[in-house]
Symmetry: C2
Amino acid sequence: MNEFELIAKLTRSLPGNSTVVTGAGDDCAVLDLGLSDRYLLLKTDAVVEGVHFVSTAAPEKIGHKALARCLSDIAAMAGRPQAALITLALPKTFDPEFIQRIYDGVNALALRHGVAIVGGETTTNPECILISVSLLGDVPKNKCILRSGAKSGDAIFVTGELGGSIAGKHLDFEPRLPQALWLTDNFAIHSMIDLSDGLANDLRHILKASHVGAELLSKSIPISRAARSQAKAGSPGKTPLLAALGDGEDFELLFTLASKDAVSLLDRWKMQFPDLRLGCIGKITSAPGLKLRDETGVHSLESHGYIHFA
Amino acid sequence: MNEFELIAKLTRSLPGNSTVVTGAGDDCAVLDLGLSDRYLLLKTDAVVEGVHFVSTAAPEKIGHKALARCLSDIAAMAGRPQAALITLALPKTFDPEFIQRIYDGVNALALRHGVAIVGGETTTNPECILISVSLLGDVPKNKCILRSGAKSGDAIFVTGELGGSIAGKHLDFEPRLPQALWLTDNFAIHSMIDLSDGLANDLRHILKASHVGAELLSKSIPISRAARSQAKAGSPGKTPLLAALGDGEDFELLFTLASKDAVSLLDRWKMQFPDLRLGCIGKITSAPGLKLRDETGVHSLESHGYIHFA
C-alpha cells in the first residue's frame, strides 16, 4: 500500500460535523463556523530535514519554506492567511541561533503577508529537524475556489515557469497570494490548485475532483531556466519538458476558467503582474484522462509512463 | 539556553495582526475573526515516539493521546473543539495497519467530542513516529478563561487525582471538556489551565500570568493510586506527594474562582460529576511565589528544590 492508497483508505471514514464544508482532499479544509460572509480555511504542512531540505540549507530559507508551503495552499483557495502556529521538532543538541534564524525566515514572510504567528511548540525529534506549520485563513463564501469546479471547455492557466525547483526555488518561492485574490476579484475562476506534486500530478487532482479530462499543448508549457540547465547536465532521458510536467515544488497556481475569458485575462494580467508570466497551457475536456498534444499528435500522458517522473 | 529560555526569546518578537486576542503563552491562541459572540481557539501539539510514548504502546492509544492533548488545551480555555488536522510523520517502513489503528484511536475520541477530522498529511520521519495535531475550536467571548485571571483570595481547585500518570493514564485520559463547559456555565471561573507539566509547574504558569502567588495545603493535594504504588516501588526520595506536585501529563483541570463560591461549587460538582473528584487545594495570595503548608509550617516550593522533580 503506497501513501496515496493509505490516505484514500483513511479519509473514507473520518468523523465529520456540521461545520465541515470541504474536508480532506482539497488544498485546505473549508469550515463554516457561523460567519455570515466567510468560510474559514485550515491547513497544516510539515517539512523534514533530508526530505524537504538538506541540513546545509540556510535556516532562514527553511523557515521561509515551512510557512510558504501553507500560504501557497491558502492561495490555491483564493483565501487570506490570518494566523499560524509553528511546531519545531529538534534533536536535543539544537543550536539556539539556528532556531532563531529559522524564525527570522518565518517572521519575515509572515510580516509580508499580514500573518500573525500565535504560538506553537518545540519538542524533541531524535535524528532530524521537522517543522510543522498550522495555518488558519478565511475566504469570502462566494470566492472560495475548489479543485472540483473545472468544466469541459475551460482554458487551463499556470503562473510562472516550471521544473527544476530543486536548484533553489523550492526554498525561496513567494506564495501567489495577491495573484489569487486578484484572479477571483476580477474573473470567475472555476478551479484552482497550487503546484506541489508537479504539473501533471496536480492537474490530475483537478481532473479527478471535477470528473473531467484535459489536453495540454506541449509548446505552451512554460519551462524554467533551471529545468533547461538540469536537462543539459543530467541524464538524456529527462527532457526540460518532462521536468516542467513532472518536477515537484513549483508552488505556482494552476487554474481553469471559461475559455471566453482567456484573452481578457491575459491582457489584464500583463498590466497587473508584468513580472510574472501567465500561460494558457491547454483545455479541459469532457473525455477523461490527461493528454499532451505535440507536433506528432496527441499522446496519453499515462500511457507514456510520464507519471513515473513525478 | 534551555527550552523555556528559547521560547521566551522567540515569542518576544512574533508578528501579530488585528485578529490576535491572545497569542503565544496560553493553552490556546485566541483569535477574533469577526464572529459577534465567539472567539476562535487555535492549538497545535505533537507527540513523538520515545518521548511521549514507547514503540510498544497500542497504536489506538497513541492516536488517542495525540488528539486528547489538544482537546485538553481547548478544555483549559472552556472552549468547544470543532475541527482537527492530523500530521503523521513516519519511517518509510510504516505498517499500514499500524497507521489505521492510530486513526482508530483518533477517530473514536473525535466522535465522542463531536470533532471533525478534516485532513492532514503523511510525511517521512527517518527514525521515529511523530504525530502533530492542529485543532480549531471556539468559545463564547464572555466565557473564555485565560491563565491571567487569578485574583488574590481565589480558591484553587483541581479535578481528579495526580501523579504517576506514566503508569497508564497519560495514554488513555479523557479530556475534561464537559467539565470545563459546566464550570463556566455555572460559575465565574477566574483562571484555568490543564495539567501537562505537573501541578507545581502549571500553577506557576497561572501565577506568572496573573502576577500573584499561591499557598497549597499539603494534606489537600489529591494523590493517585499510581503515584502511591510507584513511590513504594521506587526510590525513597520521591514521595507520593512529590509525585502529585511534580509528575507531568495528568491532564486534569486546575482553576481558580472567588473563595465565596467554593462551597457551592463542591456541592453542585458532586451532583453533576459524582465519579470525578474535585478538590480545593489552596488559595491565591498577593505575595508572589508558590508555598506549601504542612504540619511543620509553610515552605517555599522553590527553596526546597522541588522544581527539579518536575
